[in-house]
């Protein structure tokens, strides 16, 4: 049965460290995006990117350690991400309705 599936050498061809490096780079890019953009939508996109990088890391570890629980976690992370994005975008729309902009620097009332 295994032989009929995707070739196993595809997995082993690359060392685990490279997956780690890729996901770390993606995560850092996400952080840079969150920090340097004023556009709320792009900030959300960056957050999605960071979530993805973590997912990638989890899947890589799962395969290399022969443990499928991590993939279940990834599944749940996707669930949470989807819910978060739905609510976040709803808030974004509401913010836009109230202050007519999606500039994050327009939100400066978070103080007492």
């Amino acid at each position: 049965m295994n032989e009929t599936l995707i070739t196993p050498d595809l997995v082993m061809a690359v060392p685990l460290e490279h997956y780690i490096a890729v996901s770390a780079i993606l995560f850092s890019i996400g952080i840079i995006g969150v920090l340097m953009r004023r556009n709320l939508i792009v900030m959300f996109l960056s957050i999605e990117l960071m979530l993805n990088s973590v997912n990638l890391l989890a899947v890589a570890f799962s395969i290399y350690h022969n443990d499928s629980n991590a993939q279940a976690f990834v599944f749940f992370i996707m669930v949470v991400a989807a819910a978060e994005i739905a609510v976040g975008l709803a808030m974004l729309v509401m913010i836009y309705r109230n202050i007519r902009t999606i500039d994050i620097d327009a939100l400066k009332q978070l103080k007492w």
């Binding site: 004023r38 994050i104 620097d105 400066k108």
Partner: protein, 635 residues
């Protein structure tokens, strides 16, 4: 804790009843009617008086009842018990305080009628009775000092009772501050007592006095001097006497109760209480003689030229107190205490009579505007007359016995001192006759319209006058000297507390002395009668007075107030102004302000961190995570 027999309960109830009264009116006073407040307040004190009588009956012949309740303060070897000592001295003081106190309460129902602060007045009076009882019943100096301060507080509250008048408030402040000066010395005296005796309880101290004296003779002298300094404050002796005349700003019943009969005698009580110590300090006794004599003469002279009915009585009080100290100084403790009692009766009566006159004349206090009141205020007149005869020491009223007793004791010490004492008696006779004749005799000096409105006081005010008149007349029979075949009951009764004065002169001399003073007093009476009734002399008006140097000097009270003002108050005020101007505003304020400004500035800087920008917060969060991770790796 000792078992609580009836004596415990009774002696606790004596002070607690007035205290309960105080709290009662303080909380509910405004809701009760005047008559209820007055009746209740008097009721508490009368009950206390009856209980004191019971205690009087329980006193053992030669000893004291010690009633211990609990330890009030304890710190290491420092122990102050909350305990009463009921002995011959304190039980008489208790009866005096509650007895005269209840009479004055009853009198006040009439006098304070219609006043806005009616219930407040009675609350203060009851509080005063409580503290005064604490003062006389305590068995140690600290508890006594608590009562001592408490009566000072009540005195302050009652002098400034009509606090809306700034002058009255100033008088209250003056009384309080001058008393503080004496209290400071007294407090220091208490420290010394604890340092050298290790206890505050009277009986322990009396037992140890001789051994402490043997160890260091100066100690007792210093302690007694300090205690005496405290007494000069409370009992208005030179140089701390200036507050008492001003204290007449309070309602007249207060003057009668606090500033004549009871509180001002606390100093006398203190010295009699500590007579074992004072007997060991001859130098202190000499100082007491000098101060007492100076006070009685100076106050007597000042009283000659006062024109305010209450001021005359106030200086008379100072003078009589000086006489008592004079007696204490020569060691005639029983005589001083005897005079304290009789003085309490007739001086309370005089004040209440004066109050009745003021009440009848709708607030007029200047004797130059009175005269001929005997017809209009018959009963007040008779009781006042009895009091006057008592105070100028004509036989057989009470003042005669007590004053004669003092003078006889003094003569045994030194005839020169007797001369000054007798001189004080003559001054008393003159100013009291002057007061009496100007107020009640002669022609009426007020406008007709005002004269028609004068009325006799209500019976609730007259009743206490009758009782006090009876006491003033008969009080002297407490201690009939042996010369009249008496048994000297009071002196014998006090024997367990006060050692007998051994200085008894032979009867022949005593007869002569008595005769001389009585004849002189009678001479003064005729002289004044001649002057103020026959010739109708009226005291000079203020303008005329100002042109007469010596009379003016007397009228202005020897310039004591001005002297204190110039020597103490003004320099202090100038110094304070200087401090306020230069040190307070330019240094202290700047320093404190700069601390405030600094923290304001720094927090303003820190506050910029919380600028409300979400992106800034995000940045901070990322940096924080970064820091945590870095630390994590480095560890």
């Amino acid at each position: 804790m000792a078992s609580f027999d009836t004596t415990h309960i009774i002696s606790l109830l004596v002070p607690l009843l007035p205290l309960a009264g105080f709290f009662g009116y303080f909380l509910y006073g405004d809701k009760l009617s005047e008559s209820k407040v007055g009746t209740l307040a008097s009721g508490w004190v009368i009950l206390s008086f009856l209980l004191s009588l019971v205690l009087f009956g329980q006193i053992p012949v030669d000893g004291a009842i010690q009633v211990n309740y609990f330890n009030w303060m304890q710190a290491g070897s420092f122990t102050v018990p909350f305990a009463f000592q009921i002995d011959q001295l304190s039980v008489i003081m208790m009866m005096l305080v509650t007895g005269v106190g209840s009479l004055i309460h009853i009198y006040s129902i009439g006098y304070m009628h219609g006043d806005n602060g009616f219930s407040r007045f009675f609350a203060y009076l009851n509080l005063f009775i409580f503290f005064m009882l604490l003062l006389v019943m305590a068995n140690n100096y600290v508890l006594m000092f608590a009562g001592w301060e408490g009566v000072g507080l009540c005195s302050y509250l009652l002098i400034g009772f009509w606090y809306k008048n700034p002058e009255y408030s100033a008088a209250a402040n003056k009384a309080f501050i001058v008393n503080r000066i004496g209290d400071l010395f007294m407090l220091y005296g208490l420290y010394m007592i604890f340092k050298h005796f290790g206890t505050f309880v009277y009986s322990d101290i009396n037992g140890m006095a001789q051994s402490v004296f043997n160890a260091d003779t100066a100690i007792i002298g210093i302690i007694t001097l300090l205690l005496f300094a405290g007494a000069t404050g409370k009992s208005a002796q030179i140089p701390l006497h200036t507050w008492l005349p001003d204290a007449m700003a309070g309602p007249t019943p207060v003057s009668a109760l606090i500033h004549a009969a009871t509180m001002v005698t606390a100093g006398i009580y203190l010295i009699i209480r500590s007579n074992v110590l004072f007997a060991l300090a001859p130098l202190t006794n000499e100082i007491i003689v000098i101060i007492g004599l100076a006070t009685t003469l100076v106050a007597g002279m000042i009283a000659l030229k006062q024109n305010d009915i209450k001021k005359v009585l106030a200086y008379s009080t100072v003078s009589q107190l000086g006489l008592m100290f004079f007696a204490l100084g020569v060691g005639a403790y029983a005589a001083a205490f005897f005079h304290l009692l009789t003085h309490a009766f007739f001086k309370a009566l005089l004040f209440l009579g004066a109050g009745s006159v003021i009440h009848g004349m709708h607030g007029e206090q200047d004797i130059r505007k009175m005269g001929g009141l005997s017809g209009k205020m018959k009963y007040t007149h008779i009781t006042f007359l009895i009091a006057v005869i008592a105070i100028i020491a004509l036989p057989p009223l009470s003042g005669f016995f007590s004053k004669d007793y003092i003078l006889a004791s003094v003569f045994g010490k030194s005839p020169v001192l007797w001369f000054f004492g007798a001189l004080s008696g003559l001054l008393t006779a003159f100013y009291m006759m002057r007061l009496y004749l100007l107020v009640f005799k002669g022609k009426s000096r007020m406008p007709e319209a005002d004269a028609a409105k004068i009325h006799e006081s209500p019976s609730v005010m007259l009743m206490p006058l009758y009782v006090l008149a009876g006491l003033s007349a008969l009080g002297g029979f407490m201690n009939i000297p042996s010369i009249f075949g008496g048994s000297q009951w009071l002196e014998n009764f006090l024997k367990p507390v006060v050692s007998l004065s051994e200085l008894h002169i032979d009867h022949g001399t005593e007869w002569i002395l008595m005769g001389i003073s009585t004849v002189l007093v009678l001479g003064i009476v005729f002289w004044t009668y001649n002057m103020y009734v026959k010739k109708n002399d009226v005291p000079e008006s203020d303008a005329v007075l100002a042109t007469m140097p010596f009379a003016n000097f007397l009228n202005r009270k020897f310039y004591f107030d001005e002297f204190y003002d110039a020597v103490f108050s003004q320099p202090l005020l100038k110094f304070s102004t200087f401090i306020q101007k230069w040190i307070e505003t330019s240094i202290v304020d700047k320093v404190t302000d700069s601390f405030g400004m600094l923290s304001f500035f720094l927090s303003g800087q820190v506050r910029k961190l919380q600028n409300g920008h979400i992106s800034f917060y995000l940045f901070a969060m990322v940096l924080g995570i970064l820091g945590i991770l870095t630390i994590f790796i480095l560890l």
